[in-house]
Symmetry: C2
Subunit: 246 residues, 2 copies
DNA sequence: CGCAACATTGAACGGTATCAAGTATGGTGG
DNA sequence: CCACCATACTTGATACCGTTCAATGTTGCG
């Protein structure tokens, strides 16, 4: 009974990635890919949504700005992520999305997308799954912000980004491009830039990481996982669109 | 063009609540409603999901327990909320869900649900929307945990719960049942129980709220909204199942 | 009545913020 | 090629918000 249900579930959700015909349909409906540069604003908070955005390469982040001018980054996106799967359902965006380093963006206009979702239910389910995956990541951030120390929080974030890049095949060894400034890290972790700097240095002095000029090298992954209290169970996303194809 | 798109969107998502025939189909597929008492565990972390759970009345919360024994509550559910819309897509739960006060639970077995979703796409979209709504609430919590003071965080949480209850029609005046202990509030807000107590008292002494014996009375809503930095824009959920019917 | 859970209070400690300099680093125009 | 500037990073001193520990008060329930 349980076995049957699980098989059915696997077929229903198609965990690995969207079936190829559905992917092709999505790509066919998309506008031509376009590049975006660092600090470019892809989605402005409060604006109505006109299309689904997919990050083909590079990184981006979603930011909330408070009335006192402080900021909190509520999501970081890597290649392959969908930038606004949940916001589609609201019709307007609650956050602003900014580019962190040079990226390539795929854009699918909403009317086209809704037509696709209607005729290809797997696409709708994939977007739902993507929404749920990002929600799971956010839950983990809540746990960190609420109950973990600055050091654990930072280490955990580095582990998460590394793991997510690896899932997408962008991170073969333990070194990768890491475009966030310390000030942006502070806005991710709910810390001051000064404290981010100090915590980074303790991680460096313990031989766990190297970080400079937008590159992160994990020297001791086991040690980092250790102090990060990192368990990747919560990262079971789907690849909406495969990376390889054009 | 924009107008057309928005009308289409409204039809596509049916914002208010699920069409009546779909609701009836859901209710027909559900097991008989059952009661659950305080502290009962509805979903255990790490367990595989067997059914969709809907809270018909009462309150519940989703908890993550860390390796050092500390806890973080990552979601609070009120009457009408779906307890695991996103977890459906994973097949297993990342959090434990506990009952906060006597509740009534509706349970729809997964195989039935998938059959329904296949034949009634509006149900799948409603669950997607519910997932996105809960994700939006979690984003707001991230902002609070990262960038707001204890006082603002607490006030904001009280405003949020009050607003959500009002959306569901469970909160006509400004007083309502509020079953969370100070220790549970601490686990929501990422604070110690001692500090929750002190912040509560400053809110009381300013004449903003009264809270005792599981009842919360908001004496000065405007003042509370003020220090809470509360903007309900992020709460645009859907009622998956109306409250009135049986 | 008496226990158990919850709430309240005080004192001392500590993690992190804030303020204020100072030091790379990289890009730009002359 | 250098002087200049902006941005990012580093470092120290001080203050505060919130924690921890410990004790006491309160409420409700078997």
């Amino acid at each position: 009974m349980l076995k049957v249900a699980e098989n059915f579930l696997t077929r229903f959700w198609s965990r690995a990635s969207l079936p190829v015909p559905d992917q092709q349909a999505l790509l066919a409906a998309a506008l031509p890919e376009r590049r975006a540069e660092k600090d470019e604003c892809l989605i402005e908070a409060g604006t109505s949504i006109r299309s689904l955005l997919v990050l083909r390469s590079g990184m981006a982040c979603a930011v909330r700005t408070l009335s006192d001018g402080s900021q909190q980054i509520v999501a970081v996106f890597v290649a392959g992520d969908t930038l606004n799967p949940g916001e589609l359902t609201f019709g307007r965006s609650l956050t602003s999305v900014y580019v962190l380093n040079p990226t390539v963006i795929l854009s699918i206009p909403l009317p086209e997308l809704y037509r696709l979702v209607t005729h290809r239910p797997a696409i709708g389910r994939a977007l739902w799954l993507e929404t749920a995956t990002q929600a799971a990541i956010q839950q983990e951030w809540i746990v960190g912000l609420g109950r973990r120390t600055a050091q654990t929080r930072l280490a955990h974030f580095l582990c998460e980004v590394s793991y997510r890049l690896r899932l997408r095949g962008c991170n073969d060894d333990d070194a990768f491009e890491f475009p966030l400034t310390q000030s942006e890290l502070a806005d991710v972790l709910g810390l001051s830039t000064v404290h981010v700097n100090r915590v980074l240095q303790t991680l460096r002095s313990r031989g766990l990481i190297e970080l400079n000029r937008n590159r992160l090298l994990i020297r001791n992954r086991v040690g980092l996982d250790e102090i990060a209290d990192f368990d990747p169970e919560y990262l079971h996303g789907v690849r909406l669109v495969d990376q390889g194809d054009t």
